[in-house]
Symmetry: C2
Amino acid sequence: MTPDKLNSDREIRILEAASKLIAHYGFDKTTVSDIAEEAGISKGAVYLHYKSKEDLFEALIYYEGEKVLDDLLQRIDSDPDSGSIFGLYQHAILASIGNPLVHALMTSDMRIIGDFTRRWSSDGRVERYNLFRTELVEQLQAANVIRRDLNVDIVSYVLALIRYGFLTIHEVIPPEKAPPLEEVGRTLGAILERGLAPEGGGDRQAGKKVLENLLLMMRQMLRQDRGITS
Amino acid sequence: MTPDKLNSDREIRILEAASKLIAHYGFDKTTVSDIAEEAGISKGAVYLHYKSKEDLFEALIYYEGEKVLDDLLQRIDSDPDSGSIFGLYQHAILASIGNPLVHALMTSDMRIIGDFTRRWSSDGRVERYNLFRTELVEQLQAANVIRRDLNVDIVSYVLALIRYGFLTIHEVIPPEKAPPLEEVGRTLGAILERGLAPEGGGDRQAGKKVLENLLLMMRQMLRQDRGITS
DNA sequence: GTTTGACCAATAATACAAAATTGGTCATAC
DNA sequence: GTATGACCAATTTTGTATTATTGGTCAAAC
């Protein structure tokens, strides 16, 4: 359905320009002219690709979303110790934290999202992209990666809360006082591993399968949703 | 040095009035007249007890702080399973979440603290009241309650991040969609217990001692700091 | 000796006109 | 067929004059 290249060269230039500017100044304070100038084209040209500023931003979300997914995939690949909650959780958070726009989206940072909030939070999309929703915890319990005596809703809430804390703690502890995030991720992962895995360690092989499926599903969701509004 | 009664009857009436109004409308939008009226006295009478609105708020912080400490102490007392990180962490968070003002202070909620922010965050007090600072983690490691192979700074950062997430997640998951907090606290405590305790469970007796000391120290700090500005 | 509330200077909220900016279009140029 | 940027309606921002509110005081009342 979609060609191999999802975005033309110039679309990428526009999206990169928008990404840079919006991540810094926010959606409201970034003008279409700014984006065009940064991309080295005229304002009119932007409207040749996207029918409105909001549409451009929506495309940007999917563009950056795929970037994060790629980053995540690579992190998992190059980590010999993946295939557990330990691995995924750590890498997923670090990957999201590394992308200003996805970070802002995940924490509903009004300074960045601004007036776009309405469109973004109106349909249920935000929730679907939420990592570690109940269904995933259920699957991981079925695969014997998470202890089965724990309540699904509580566990996914706890995981959501930890993720949110990770992404927002900087508001109260300045980054320069924070220890290296990679190390924090590793320790947090280790704590969760011990805290959530069943006695004896759990089935890593099955866990890896579930997580691979999740990632695949995420990418599919991303592309499908993009189709809706492109 | 201080009499048995730290606040006169009328001071308590004022503080309760201020607490109710400020927790709801915030520091900026709550006027001294409002507080006086709610307390059933005149505005002038308020200034018989506190020399400024800021001073009143500062007194309120200590007043509510002691309340939370009392609440925490009682929670721990009536829980047979205390004396572990498990117990304290769970109860400390639930106690703070139960007090709107302390909650706002711990999350530096500008809507509530408003213009008072300057005075509050200027000196180092905020940090000293921070639960689970590095020193505490150190002590808990010495008492063999937390595994010794974990890095102190990382663990205290992880604990801070989890606490912050617990207190702020409601901004992204509405309370009506959240599971019962008591249950969340219990599960989170259990996860941390497994995740942080050394093999074989650790020394509960020693842990209990450290935590009792901490609580005592907290109360002392609270009263001492209050002396400075009263 | 206490308590009050009218009073005041200072700050903050409101109203509103004028100026500037912005998303989006389209006749023109390439 | 593509790309441009002057152009426009609509919105936002800015400047400002006016009004309202608030923290804090203190002479008078209790």
